[in-house]
Symmetry: none
Subunit: 92 residues, 4 copies
């Protein structure tokens, strides 16, 4: 039954069962997440806004900052920095 066509059925089965196990854990977690949001909502919070806040907090943690220098060079070249006339004005 196993080791057909040169692949190890047992090895494959182990990988797949491992994946399925991890996915089950993940589903549990996501259910917990939904529960938290549901409870928050039930006491009057706006879930959509909560998600925005969480996203903001996540973004802040990211580097982002690194390439901003280079970005500023290009912005300056484009006149997108405050001190220059901006591309946006032309677009408007």
């Amino acid at each position: 039954m196993t080791d057909i066509s040169g692949i190890s059925g047992n090895q494959l089965r182990l990988f797949i069962e491992k994946v399925e196990c991890l996915e089950e854990e993940k589903n549990d977690l996501m259910e917990n997440l939904r529960d938290v949001f549901a409870e928050a909502k039930s006491v009057g919070f706006d879930v959509k806004i909560m998600k925005q806040i969480i996203k903001l907090r996540k973004m802040k943690k990211e580097d982002v900052v690194e390439q901003e220098e280079l970005l500023d060079i290009y912005k300056a070249a484009l006149g997108m920095l405050p001190s220059f006339e901006s591309l946006d004005e032309q677009a408007a």
Copy 2:
């Protein structure tokens, strides 16, 4: 302390921290998942096929059959199924 606009900051804070905690756990799990696939790949398995297998195992068997049937109906309607011609050829 910060109950502004009728919202309890502390309560909201707790919800958000709970969410962020759960999301972190989820990220860990997903990293584990990636690792499993990476290892499977490194020993020669085809990750894409593995995912198809896992998806099939997740679906209810009746749904699998139903979808395959529908696909065949559409194929037939478009003449993509060789069945008819080949039947003719066999009959000839």
Copy 3:
């Protein structure tokens, strides 16, 4: 005019405007695509199946066959193919 840091703002501006123009055209096309699917759905077609069909038509036929074969090999290795038992049953 704004050649700061050795970068030509005008040249960059032209590139970016060209990109934005092309992306706008692309957005129009994608909206058209959505409309087509929506209309197909409104007259009773299953959009998901339609997309499967389109993907199949895009693939080279040999690749389709190859992938199906590989899938069957994996299924066999996992005992997901009824073929063998049913053959035995038929022999019995």
Copy 4:
């Protein structure tokens, strides 16, 4: 050949051909886009940064602003506004 199992093969074919036609146009556009980026790169621009700029310009055009009031209420409740002690400090 058509109208098997109660679906109209011709109708389906028309939908699908329309989709494939639109997708071809889209592929052409995307190739043009790649060409623009390639040329920009060839004269020394950083494609990644260009894409960031384009993304920024896109975001500015979006509303975004609407729900920011409500968002601020929550931020205030969380102490995320300048005048209050922030969640971030606690996280740090």
